[in-house]
């Protein structure tokens, strides 16, 4: 008989995601992803000045502040057909890249590495042997015996204190944990080091955005950064140099540590290239514009239906007509009134009816593309890039495939990327591309300033008639889009369709599962009462429900629990 397991909320993610799985013969036979929080912040924006929207939208979520600020100014610029000066594009791109690098490092080490790394094995490791192993796969200079020993001592101290602290929620000693003590120590040491490098990435955001956690330098039409190479109070040579030094360290960590670790872990859990596929429709928007009008980009976009990578349809621009016309939000299984709406005419009228897997069960709406569920995130981006022979994607994807083969003897084919490990590998590939692009865009900015171009802003002009716009950003968790309707210089309607809404969406009117749900089907569970395997797949999406749903649950539980019902 099928047993029901509820995980509410999933550990180590921000916000309130609830997963219900039905388990039959130690494998998942059905799944529901739901969000236990109500969403409706967009209503606050109605009637406000479109120039201010970004200040409010960057408060949607504390994890992804900059991405919502950026999508918002882009939405207004799209509605006004307003171009953005080159300097402003480069500065924005650098902020977006630095934020993404920070986010990807934190995701892998702080939020998901411990699904694969068993802390309890670390006391058995040999730091000298760990150093030897590490040197065989990476030139990282901090792979030293001393650093490994210090990390091991920390774990020993925690174990000796009897208080597991941050580790108290882990499934230690679980049969699905399979790394050797030395590999566990290697990954854990990088988990500690990761803290320093994600901070350096955030410092770049802070220098350019003048403040974190909430950047201050955006304006509709550009940025507010003053550029003056001779002024101490402006973006000058000193600051550009500070950014260069910080980026160099972050880039090295991405290429020599994060990328290498993901490939190594993947090589040791090859069966996870066959688990967790789910929805094989993918969506990514182009990003990192290279000109004022936004006609060419450093990251390609497009969509893939039914896993047909060869049949990828590219998007020409970040607000491609096909994208604009194809998005709707279905509420058949979400706690809202009404039917499926296009975001420009979207409504957010709550109708809470309690959790019912057959009827309504989530506060997340179900975004659909031509009526189909879509998976978004780094995997989508890497697949559409690979299909278009995007050189950077091909470069790092090839390198990842070679690394996995060298460490574990596993030959990864593109088809295996439709999986839990495929999502982790794609994120590491994307981070490696972004690391390289960070340095490129800093150079582009420096060169453009050196030419004497100090322009950072174009004045917005609002027409008297009603205009609509969409602002997109290929965010760390995937395609983000802000949809705005402007009339008389005021916001008439505003909807944010966020990456986690695509991925965590409930079933739609046709009964089609959302990506989280579909990815869990058939997952084998070694110990259903400790559903580590479910966490592995859900975490591989990098869920962040803080922005998928914006308020809190009055009856929610604070600590994640897995219970058999």
């Amino acid at each position: 008989m099928a047993k029901r397991i509820t995980i509410d909320p999933i550990t180590r993610i921000e916000g309130h995601l609830r997963i219900d799985v039905e388990v039959d013969n130690n494998a998942v036979s059905n799944a529901w992803a739901s969000c236990t929080m109500w969403r409706g912040i967009e209503k606050i924006l109605r009637g406000r000045d479109p120039r201010d929207a970004w200040l409010f939208t960057q408060r949607f979520c504390g994890v992804c502040t900059t991405v919502h600020a950026m999508a918002s100014v882009r939405a207004v610029e799209d509605a006004l057909k307003l171009e953005v000066p080159l300097n402003a594009q480069y500065i924005r791109n650098l902020i977006l890249i630095a934020h993404a690098l920070h986010d990807h490092i934190v995701h892998f080490y702080q939020l998901s590495a411990l699904d694969w790394v068993d802390i309890l094995q670390i006391p058995k490791a040999d730091p000298a042997a760990t150093q030897k192993l590490a040197e065989s796969i990476s030139p990282w200079t901090r792979n030293s015996r001393n650093e490994f020993k210090a990390a091991q001592d920390r774990v020993n101290a925690v174990a000796a204190s009897g208080q597991l602290g941050i580790f108290m929620n882990g499934y230690w000693g679980h049969p699905a944990m399979r790394l050797s003590p030395d590999v566990n120590l290697l990954a854990f040491t990088h988990y500690i080091q990761a803290l320093e490098y994600q901070r350096k990435a955030l410092q770049v955001v802070g220098i350019l955005g003048s403040k974190t956690p909430h950047i201050q330098n955006l304006t509709v039409g550009g940025v507010a950064n003053a550029i003056d190479l001779d002024s101490a109070n402006a973006l000058n040579m000193d600051r550009l140099e500070m950014i260069r030094v910080l980026l160099e360290e972050v880039v090295q960590f991405i290429h020599q540590v994060y990328f290498v670790d993901v490939c190594a872990v993947a090589a040791m859990y090859p069966e996870w290239f066959k688990i967790g596929s789910g929805v094989r429709n993918y969506l990514a928007v182009p990003d990192l514009p290279l000109d004022s009008a936004g006609t060419s980009y450093d990251l390609p976009g497009g969509y893939i239906m039914d896993g047909n990578i060869a049949g990828t349809r590219p998007f020409k621009t970040a607000s491609d007509k096909v994208f604009r016309d194809s998005v709707s939000e279905d509420v058949a299984h979400a706690y809202y009134q009404g039917k499926a709406f296009h975001p420009w005419s979207g409504e957010t009228e709550p109708q809470f009816t309690g959790w019912d897997g057959e009827q309504k069960y989530s506060w997340v709406k179900a975004p659909r593309f031509n009526g189909q569920p879509m998976q978004v995130g780094p995997l989508a981006q890497v697949l559409v890039g690979f299909a278009q022979s995007h050189p950077l994607t091909v470069k790092y994807a090839t390198q990842a495939i070679n690394n996995v083969q060298a460490v574990g003897g596993v030959r990864v084919t593109p088809d295996m990327l439709h999986s839990t490990l495929g999502r982790h590998a794609a994120r590491a590939i994307r981070a490696s591309m972004l690391a390289e692009l960070a340095q490129k865009h800093l150079q582009l900015l420096t060169d453009n300033i050196a030419k004497g171009d100090y322009t950072v802003h174009n004045q917005p002009v609002f027409p008297s008639h009603e205009v609509e716009g969409v602002g997109t950003h290929e965010a760390p968790r995937g395609t983000l889009s802000h949809w705005i309707v402007i009339k008389d210089e005021k916001i008439k309607n505003y909807q944010a369709v966020v990456p986690s809404t695509w991925n965590a969406s409930p079933r739609d009117a046709n009964g089609a599962h959302g990506p989280y749900e579909a990815s869990l089907l058939h997952t084998p569970l070694a110990r259903p009462e400790e559903p580590l395997e479910v966490l592995r797949t859900v975490h591989s999406f990098d869920p962040c429900m803080a922005c998928a749903c914006h308020a809190f649950d009055p009856d929610g539980k604070q600590i994640a629990k897995a219970k058999i019902l």
Binding site: M37, I44, G62, Q110, G165, A546, A551
Partner: protein
């Protein structure tokens, strides 16, 4: 010189959850602080909070809390209590991040020696940019323990000679004036 952080945590778009950021701005408008003291509107940080609290001697966080008490009730929580009585203290929407952050900081050896959480019981978390009446009435009550904690730690502050307007740009009136103009 002591390194001190006074951080207001909360979502300014969710009614009383904005009490932390509002109090941070209120403190800045009324008081002058000595060197080494940073007063910041932190928004809703997740694990990023670790970068804010690490390496400080004293951290005072201000947040809305969801407890079984009258709205506006002010409760204090110390570091040990937050880490140990994890299930007992519920602070939404971001309390998991606060607890996880502290536990991580402890593991990494960067946790502040001294941490005080000043919690203000909320009435409403409905989307809105203003505070409820009971929470508004409790603002001074929430400031008192913050100043006491600074005194206890011999951290200097004084009433500002020229108090300014509270720079809570999100707390707009019904006319919805542009926060960009107000700044």
């Amino acid at each position: 010189m002591k390194k001190v952080l006074i951080g207001g945590i909360g979502n300014v778009l969710l009614g009383d959850d904005g009490v932390g950021p509002y109090l941070a701005q209120l403190l800045l408008s009324r008081y002058e602080f000595g060197e080494g003291v940073e007063v910041v509107d932190l928004g809703t940080p997740a694990l990023d909070l670790i970068d804010q609290i690490s390496g400080r001697d004293l951290v005072i966080l201000i947040d809305s809390i969801d407890i079984d008490a009258a709205p506006g009730t002010v409760r204090l929580y110390r570091k040990d209590e937050i880490m140990q009585h994890r299930p007992a203290v519920r602070m939404d929407p971001h309390s998991p991040a606060l607890v996880d952050t502290l536990l991580s900081a402890e593991l990494f050896g960067v946790a502040p020696a001294n941490l005080l959480l000043v919690g203000v019981a909320a009435e409403s978390y409905e989307p809105s940019c203003s505070l409820s009446e009971p929470v508004r009435a409790a603002l001074d009550q929430a400031i008192a323990p913050i100043l006491r904690e600074l005194d206890r730690n011999r951290v200097a502050y004084r009433l500002s000679k020229n108090p300014t307007e509270v720079k809570a740009w999100w707390a707009t009136d019904e006319k919805m004036e542009s926060p960009l103009l107000a700044r």
